[in-house]
């Protein structure tokens, strides 16, 4: 029913004021050169072994099976309930809980949850529980040895499927679509986990990989000796293990968020995307991801060539430094959706099946207050998130360059920094609506 760019929603953000866009762009360029020329000249962020350990007792509880199985059982219960509501609840998207839970509360809410608490979906992923229950059926996991070579490529593919559903598929907002997606997602990933072993979820389940990626910027981390630690999020991000497909995962997220922004612009709606069909959406989504991937590969390889390093390893080496930029894009595009249209979840949960006279939590009569956050506040958060992501990204790239060559010249880092500036100017341009 809804033709809005993201899965569901009744509104999109106003274009940011031109002043915000220009100041943001100026700040991004200025900060980039300040980082290159004025920041530290030897690596100084902590490595994978840094951080202040949490009390051993707390770690036992957090890592213990009771907490994990408990949270997984809870998440499984919620997921089954959401599928039931999607199939048996009201047919209209505006009255059915399921699309709002999937596209807003879960998908968008996963970002702040992971940023504050760490890799929450790795802990609470209900498919891990299903896997454990079904493991006796296929105890050997014949494909486990091949998993490390696949790296995060399966997760990048899994996320691409979801963002296509969320941003392109015409029936995305229908409750039935949500039910079919959730059931298919569960069946496919549990089946693959029986083939590849439980390690599949970390590398193949897009939601888990995304949550874990954002958690890299949370204050919590796991030291290389296995201890849970409180540490500088920048050190946590740089300690991201380099895996095949890590850059693909980040690029899919950045590119898809860019497409979400693009599809809200007048230029897209009256130009290439005027048909508003599956074909134009798919081409637009893939082209956005392609442009981001091309720029990223170009910047990292060129930087590597200038520094006299193997250009082939560069995209993987710098992938973690793009996480904050992708996160900034995500916050800028979905923050208002979570706070405004996200209220819908808490209203509909009072009467999930749309029965007469049911109002479990006394919220069913409430209306979504679309003025709860002012448009100035939204614009400030949007520009702030993009610029903060940029600053952190450039800083991480600087440290990464120093780590790979002790006396890396500032000029060698220039191509990657220029690409990051382009991402940021592009992000601001999309918010401004060109």
């Amino acid at each position: 029913m809804s033709t809005l760019a993201h899965g569901v929603g009744s509104r999109t953000d106003l274009p940011i004021p031109i002043g915000f866009a220009l100041y943001g762009a100026g700040a991004a360029i200025l900060v980039s050169f300040a980082v290159l020329l004025l920041f530290w000249r030897t690596p100084r962020l902590g490595g994978p072994g840094s951080g202040r350990p949490l009390p051993a007792g707390l770690q036992r509880v957090l890592d213990g099976a009771p907490l994990r199985r408990g949270l997984q059982a809870l998440a499984l219960g919620v997921a089954v309930f959401v599928v039931a509501v999607a199939l048996l609840g009201p047919e209209e998207t505006s009255r059915n809980l399921a699309p709002w839970v999937l596209y807003v509360t879960f998908w968008v809410g996963l970002v702040p949850a992971s940023l504050l608490l760490g890799p929450v979906w790795r802990v609470a992923n209900p498919l891990r529980l299903l896997h454990r229950l079904l493991r006796p059926v296929a105890p050997t996991a014949p494909g486990a040895a091949r998993l490390p070579a696949l790296g995060l490529w399966p997760a990048a593919g899994s996320l691409l499927v979801f963002v296509w559903l969320e941003l392109v598929f015409p029936g995305r907002a229908e409750p039935r679509t949500v039910a079919v997606f959730l059931l298919l997602h569960a069946v496919v990933h549990v089946a693959l986990s029986l083939w590849f072993g439980e390690g599949w979820f970390a590398r193949g389940d897009g939601f888990e990989a995304w949550s874990t990626l954002i958690a890299r910027l949370s204050p919590w981390g796991r030291r290389d000796d296995g201890r849970l630690v409180l540490r500088n999020p920048l050190a946590g991000a740089l300690a991201t293990p380099s895996e095949p497909g890590l850059s693909a995962l980040v690029v899919v997220l950045l590119g898809s968020t860019a497409f979400d922004g693009l599809s809200r612009t007048v230029w897209w709606q009256t130009g290439p995307g005027a048909a508003d069909d599956t074909l134009s959406g798919t081409v637009g989504l893939l082209a956005s991801i392609g442009v981001v991937a091309g720029l990223y590969a170009l910047g990292t390889r060129l930087s590597g060539r200038l520094a006299g390093q193997d250009p082939g390893v560069q995209p993987g080496r710098y992938a973690a430094t793009v996480i904050p930029i992708a996160l900034g894009y995500t916050i800028a595009h979905y923050f208002s959706l979570l706070l405004l249209d996200g209220q819908k979840t808490w209203i509909l949960v009072s009467n999930p099946f749309g029965a007469d006279g049911v109002d479990l939590f006394g919220t069913y009569g409430n209306r979504v207050d679309l003025t709860a956050v002012g448009s100035d506040a939204i614009a400030l958060v949007q520009v702030g998130a993009i610029i903060a992501g940029h600053v952190v990204g450039v800083t991480l790239a600087h440290e990464r360059a120093l780590l790979s060559a002790r006396h890396a010249r500032a000029s060698d880092q220039l191509p990657l920094v220029v690409v990051m500036v382009l991402f940021t100017l592009g992000g601001l341009g999309l918010l401004f609506g060109f």
Partner: protein
């Protein structure tokens, strides 16, 4: 003006709007919701008196649908925040027109102009959509 009196005034203002939207049976439920909820969504404007009826002042936006083609004020239509707005939709087929965010509905009878009148109190970008056809007639940019 006390909050209660402001709410009552807004309710009175909202009644003709809702009445216009609720001429058809399928829309009756949505209409009831929008009447009872009008004070809630309009609450921030309670302090600014809006004595003129919505039709008399403010911005008038007109679109027509014929043979699947949309003509008139299509595309992105800018509206000032707080301004009274009247949207007039004329269609050659029966449908229902829905303004997202403001959640206003109007039944479309072939050849007969239908009106949505409201105060643009919610900032943002909102789609005006034909429910059955799924066509976006225009997007309202309130800010």
């Amino acid at each position: 003006m006390s909050p209660r009196r402001a709410a009552a005034a807004l309710l009175l203002l909202a009644l003709p709007v809702a009445g216009c939207a609720g001429t058809a049976a399928p829309a009756a439920e949505g209409t009831a919701a929008s009447v009872s909820d009008a004070p809630a969504t309009g609450a921030p404007t309670g302090t600014t008196p809006a004595p003129a009826p919505p039709e008399a002042a403010g911005q008038r936006i007109e679109v027509a649908v014929a043979g699947g083609r949309v003509t008139g004020d299509t595309g992105r239509v800018p509206v000032s925040l707080g301004e009274p707005v009247t949207v007039v939709v004329t269609s050659d087929v029966a449908d229902e027109v829905h303004l997202h965010g403001y959640d206003r509905l109007a039944e479309l009878v072939p050849g007969q102009p239908a009106e949505l009148a409201f105060d643009a109190t919610i900032p943002g970008v909102f789609e005006l959509e034909l429910h059955d056809a799924g066509t976006v007639l225009l997007t309202l940019q309130v800010g």
